[in-house]
């Protein structure tokens, strides 16, 4: 029942999205634009500062993710479907999981585009280190999306929701950023520093477990308003 509901919510979001690809396309190109802004800001005489590839990847994900979160729930609010969702005879945390899976798919597709792009623009051997980079990206994205989905759902009815989401989200997800960037730059070192990357991966995993559990737990009392 739980999984079925979550997958139904995911399918619903997918079905709406496929009609126009609005959120998908605009988020993707926003992320690319972000990378370009950083490239122009940081590259001096054709060289980017060391470790900037890792930093830019995660910052672009953070910004694109924040926008995507806001807009996914904006759609629910605009269509006034959130009441229907909450009235459905389904466990509320399943709705959260469905939304979370939707955001994860969106950010996953963004990463599929961003990683080769950054590897190309900054001559960073990201694609060679995929065995450890992939788990880092997955765990980092899950951690960010878990906290973000909860806060975006909470803020749906607030007037200042657009600016409040980053205000709430960024300090809370700094550990994800630190772990992600440090882990990725450990992988980009030559030779790749795998023990360090694995250490940061472990921290990300713990963050994910704690915050997905906390979000599932608090989603129900929060959405009863």
């Amino acid at each position: 029942m739980f999984l079925r509901t979550a997958l139904l919510v995911l399918r619903k979001d997918f079905a709406i999205e496929i009609k126009s690809y609005e959120i998908f396309a605009t988020t993707l190109f926003f992320a690319v634009g972000c990378v370009l802004v950083f490239a122009f800001a940081l590259v001096k005489e054709g060289q980017a500062p060391p470790d900037s590839a890792a930093a830019i990847l995660w910052i672009a994900l953070l910004f694109a993710g924040t926008l995507a979160l806001g807009r996914t729930f904006e759609r629910e609010r605009y269509g006034e479907t959130i009441r229907a969702l909450l009235l459905a005879p389904a466990p509320r945390p399943a709705i959260y999981v469905g939304k979370l899976l939707g955001i994860l798919c969106l950010l996953g597709l963004t990463e599929v585009l961003l990683v080769p792009l950054i590897a190309l623009l900054f001559a960073a051997p990201l694609l060679a280190r995929l065995t450890l980079l992939l788990p880092l990206l997955v765990c980092g994205t899950v951690g960010f999306a878990a906290v973000g989905t909860l806060f975006a759902a909470m803020l749906m009815r607030a007037r200042t929701r657009d600016v409040m989401l980053p205000i709430l989200l960024y300090p809370m997800t700094i550990p994800v950023i630190i772990a992600g960037v440090r882990g990725t730059s450990a992988l980009l070192a030559s030779p790749p520093d795998e023990p360090t990357a694995i250490m940061w991966l472990t921290i990300l995993l713990c963050f994910d477990v704690v915050f997905v559990t906390l979000s599932l737990w608090t989603f129900e009392p929060l959405m009863t308003e």
Partner: protein, 218 residues
């Protein structure tokens, strides 16, 4: 609650009056001499801040899951005090750092951690002020998440900073320093308790006033 105000206030005032004497009598630390003495206020301010984080997180949890309004008032009071004592720590920290390290800010592990937690709880106060309807529950979630993220902030910032060597060594406390340190720590924790009870009392009276207004309108 209210009966505790005056004795608590008197005790806290007396402790803070004596604190400079205790600090002046403490032995000098070997490398930093006089500058190090800001430590007696800096670390207790932090201890009060962390006490506040624990109080706010637990009170937020109780409010979110049990719905007791008193827990909400306690959470707000604690959050305001976190921001206050965090600000004290964040001001005394760079003041110390400027003299000891030569720079105002150095991405030291503990200062960074304090900054992040301060930002989380400033976000708590912003949500309460601008969050619109239902902002008390939103803020309660921020409080819980803020408390939950503290160990992760601690671990990640610590590892992030200790990979690069720092050019200060945390001074190990000499024998004569424990006394003034724990005295100041007690003074700060008492101040925290005093301010907490005062703020909670204020919130309770505001709630009573609101109820009276609503009852009057019927």
């Amino acid at each position: 609650m209210k009966k505790m105000f005056i004795p608590l206030a008197v005790l806290t005032a007396a402790m803070f009056a004596y604190a400079p004497v205790a600090i002046a009598n403490a032995p000098y630390e070997s490398t930093m001499l006089l500058i190090q003495k800001i430590f007696y206020f800096h670390v207790p301010a932090w201890m009060a801040m962390y006490a506040g984080i624990a109080v706010c997180g637990i009170a937020s949890g109780i409010y979110l899951f049990k719905g007791r309004p008193a827990a909400d008032r306690l959470a707000v009071a604690a959050a305001e005090l976190i921001v206050l004592f965090g600000a004290i720590g964040l001001v005394t920290g760079p003041l110390w750092g400027r003299k000891a390290w030569g720079v105002w800010w150095q991405w030291d592990a503990r200062l960074t951690m304090a900054l992040l937690l301060e930002l989380v709880f400033i976000a708590y106060l912003l949500v309460r002020a601008y969050g619109g309807p239902g902002s008390d529950k939103l803020a309660a979630a921020v409080g819980i998440f803020g408390m939950a993220v503290s160990p992760f902030v601690y671990v990640s910032v610590n590892i992030w900073r200790t990979v690069h060597p720092l050019n200060t060594v945390v001074p190990t406390l000499k024998a004569g320093m424990f006394g003034p340190f724990w005295f100041c720590a007690m003074a700060f924790l008492l101040l925290f308790t005093l301010l907490l009870t005062l703020r909670m009392n204020l919130a309770e009276e505001q709630a009573m006033l609101d109820d009276l207004y609503l009852a009057d309108e019927e």
